[in-house]
Every structure is written in C-alpha cells, then in structure tokens.
C-alpha cells in the first residue's frame, strides 16, 4: 500500500470502529430505553440517535457527495435542543435512517482518492482554502469521527 492510502485507511478504520461501538449501544437498547436521559436533564438517547444521523447526513453536501438524505432531521435534532419538539419521528424510523445514512457515507468514503481527501470541503471558499489548506475533507472526517466518540461517551453512561 502506498503511503497516502495508509493515512486514509487508518482514518476510515477509526471512523468505522467508532460507528461499530455506537451500533452496539443502540442495538442493545429497547425503544423504551432509548427514552432515557444520559444524565438528569440532559439529552435522551433517542435524541442523540437523531442528532448523530443528522450530523453525519450533513457530510454528504459538505464533502461534495450530493444532496442530503434526511434534511428534515435538522429542525428536530440540530437546531432544537432535546424535548423542544414534542413529537419525534418513530424510533424505528430513526434507527433505519442511521443505518442507511452510514452505509451511504461508507460507499462515498471508499470512492475518494487520497488527493481528493485533501481537497477543500464545500463550506470553505477557494480563496480561504489557499490560505488554510487544512480545511480539507480529511479534516472533516477526523472531526466527525471525534463527534461520534463524544456522544458515545455520553451514551455509555446509560449502561446498567
């Protein structure tokens, strides 16, 4: 394997490993258990499921992969805090979107060459990117990988 591919592979394995851990948590919880708050007064597991799906979904346009799959999630799970929106989508639907969205991302991720990973993401202009070349797609992947871990740390607090 050539050197640049090795860096990309390491990052994709870390992403996939963090997703695997989250899947084990979500799959190990009943729909009722998903209504528990990770700490008193904090986000419920179901909110974090929708939130993670929405944030991951935003990577589609951000990385130039195409349009959003689930833009309707944002108003419930990103721009509103938990419990602000009374009627959530059914948990089974959220679980399915989580899986579908991550499979779609995985396919797009694997299609990028190392050079493409170092291209600018769509929220930075060519002008700014010339000055700040670290604002590339690879950095977005690393940052979203940390985002998965961040909420995993919260969800494990629900373990009996």
């Amino acid at each position: 394997m050539k050197q640049p591919e090795s860096f990309v592979k390491a990052a994709l394995l870390t992403w996939a490993g963090n997703l695997k851990r989250l899947n084990a948590i979500f799959n190990g919880m009943t729909d009722d258990e998903m209504l528990a708050e990770v700490a008193p007064g904090k986000n419920r597991a179901v909110y974090l499921l929708g939130h993670l799906t929405a944030v991951n979904d935003r990577m589609l346009p951000l990385l130039g992969f195409g349009d959003r799959e689930f833009p309707q999630l944002d108003s419930i799970f990103i721009t509103s805090p938990d419990k602000a929106v009374k009627d959530l989508p059914p948990i089974q639907e959220l679980r399915a979107q989580w899986i579908v969205g991550n499979e779609l991302l995985a396919r797009h991720f694997s299609s990028l060459t190392p050079d493409q990973w170092l291209e600018r993401h769509t929220q930075v202009s060519e002008e700014d990117f010339a000055k700040e070349p670290h604002r590339n797609k690879f950095s977005v992947l690393l940052s979203r990988t940390s985002h998965l871990a961040y909420h995993t740390g919260q969800l494990v607090l629900l373990k009996k």
Copy 2:
C-alpha cells in the same frame, strides 16, 4: 506542503483541538467542582483528569518516545475504577501533570516524519505488523484523539 504531511497535520490539529476543549473545561472548574460525578454514580471529573493523563502518558512507550513520565497514575486511574482508591493525589498536581504530559507529547509528535507515523507501534510484533500494517503509530494517534472526545462528551454534562 507535500501530501503525506497534510494527513499528519490534519490529525495533529484534531488532537490539539480536542485537547484545547478539554483544557477549557478543566480550567473552568474549581478543585471542588472537580469532585462532581458526570452522572449519578459515574466517574468524577478529577478521575477523568487523572485517567486521561495516564492514557496519554502510555503513548510515550507505545509510540517509542521513551519511558513513562507518570506510571504511578495507572493503579489509581486505569486499573482501578473511580472511588476504589481513597486518597487521590492533590488535584493541583494532577492538573500540572496533565499540562506537562501533553506538552511532552506535542514535542514528540512534531518530531515524527510521515513515514515514521506509519511504522508499527511497540505493542505489535514485526510479524503481526507485516500482516496488519494498519497497526501503526498514526492509528494510535487517531484512536487516542477519539478517546479525548469520548470523555469530553462526559465532562460537558457538568456544565451549569
């Protein structure tokens, strides 16, 4: 900047960004506030401070940078759960070790070439590494970067 350097730079920026967020949290808490549990019955902030320092410190031998600085932390903050050890080191001492340890790591990190980041870490044999070349130093960096985010997600639950 050449391509391999760009991947390393992105990873080091993500590591530094996650550390910065943790520093803001720890610096914003009084020593008394550090005794709060992140959720009822879960780890206290002071335990997570010692735990993160110990896990980061383990990267010194793991990445071939040299001996541990704070091996004495392991029995309190890694192999024992929180509250199992009655007398913790003074919080001020833990705060100082956290800073010193991270500065030391930053110096070592910046000394590695991209090729060196792709070398095996010290816990994998040459034989296994030939079969599993993803078990390199870069993967350790990514995994420990997620580890920072994981516990950050817990510590933010203490925010008023």
